[in-house]
Symmetry: C2
């Protein structure tokens, strides 16, 4: 069985999104800076249908993580931004367009039941009975591969609290956002310990990989 | 002229001290964990009068920073914990005992004037006219060497806001504290950008060195 991996980019002051997210700027003010490191990598650009991109150790690191992933779990807001019933949702089909970059099964946590959304190479399945259930479904879909808990912060915190995360990958960008949504704010009351297993340096970000001690 | 370096250990969730600091536990609940990495190093133990200690790349990294430092600036609470006039302060002579580990001039920010405290190889000078003045005094004392802004978080934030910090060294321990005192909470309104200049991995902590872009 694969690992359950949580992965997210944060600012130096711990934010995974800036303040005042909108439909145009879903990561909030300044939030895009956290992802500058990834959009230039070949292994990111290819599944997003973008040309070119850098290769090298950082691209290998990212490609390895992508290739190890068999299924993805995400929170509702990461899928669509909305919180109400789907028919009232401005992005009812998600942020991800007609050709989502995942190319693997994605399980979306929500309170609003909905039939699976089958797009090119990606199926979004909507799970209404909680994170544990979504991770179980993702594990089954991933078979021997890893399950990626892709965000947002609240979903990752919840997965850490439930002791469901085996590995945490943080990408720390050298910027401050000052306010917004913080990772770890919802982790309580028993705080896990971590063991650093890999550090990869790059100009735009520092990659830290931790084993979560249970 | 040397650099102005701010240096501090933080948790993965960005705290430099845990909640509920006391005289017995000045770093708050769990705060000691942030410093486990340093107390085992030879170049830390020696000036603290402790025997033994590890050598190697991490010890070299720490020794290099210590040797580059010509003077230290710290906030009042880092010196003594108290906030009132010295005669009411439980640790009027500071946390640091009769043989402080600095072995160089230390400038303490305070609102309460006081004559310098001259101890073995360390003189504490109390500066009542603000951080800029304390850093000027420290620069003069350090001559060609670096000035270390040693903490706490509030003092470092203030120095970043005043664009007085050239280099930031963070030591990120793989623990969560959940609450306490956070670095960067007082940085505003104009957020600086950083450039990562060195990353050093060790089992107990990840060392990140940033140049502050002005």
């Amino acid at each position: 069985m694969g690992k359950v991996v949580a992965e997210i980019s944060t600012s130096l002051d711990g934010y995974v999104a800036g303040p005042d997210p909108t439909l145009e700027e879903p990561l909030g003010v300044g939030g895009e800076q956290l992802h500058e490191w990834v959009v230039r990598l070949k292994s990111f650009r290819e599944p997003h249908g973008l040309p070119g991109g850098e290769t090298g150790p950082e691209d290998d690191f990212f490609a390895e993580a992508v290739n190890a992933t068999g299924a993805v779990v995400m929170g509702r807001r990461m899928f669509s931004g909305g919180e109400g019933p789907w028919e009232h949702d401005a992005k009812a089909n998600g942020w991800w367009g007609d050709e989502p970059p995942f190319h693997k099964p994605v399980f979306v946590l929500t309170h609003h039941a909905r039939k699976p959304l089958v797009l090119e190479e990606t199926t979004f399945t909507f799970v209404t009975d909680g994170l544990g259930s979504a991770i179980d479904d993702a594990r089954a879909a991933a078979a021997e591969q890893d399950v990626l808990v892709a965000g947002g912060a609240e979903t990752i915190d919840q997965a850490i609290n439930a002791r469901l995360v085996d590995e945490l990958q943080l990408h720390i960008a050298p910027v401050l956002l000052g306010s917004g949504t913080r990772l770890f704010d919802g982790v309580a009351p028993e705080l896990p310990r971590f063991e650093v297993t890999q550090v990869l340096e790059s100009p735009l970000v520092t990659h830290l990989r931790y084993r979560v001690l249970k």
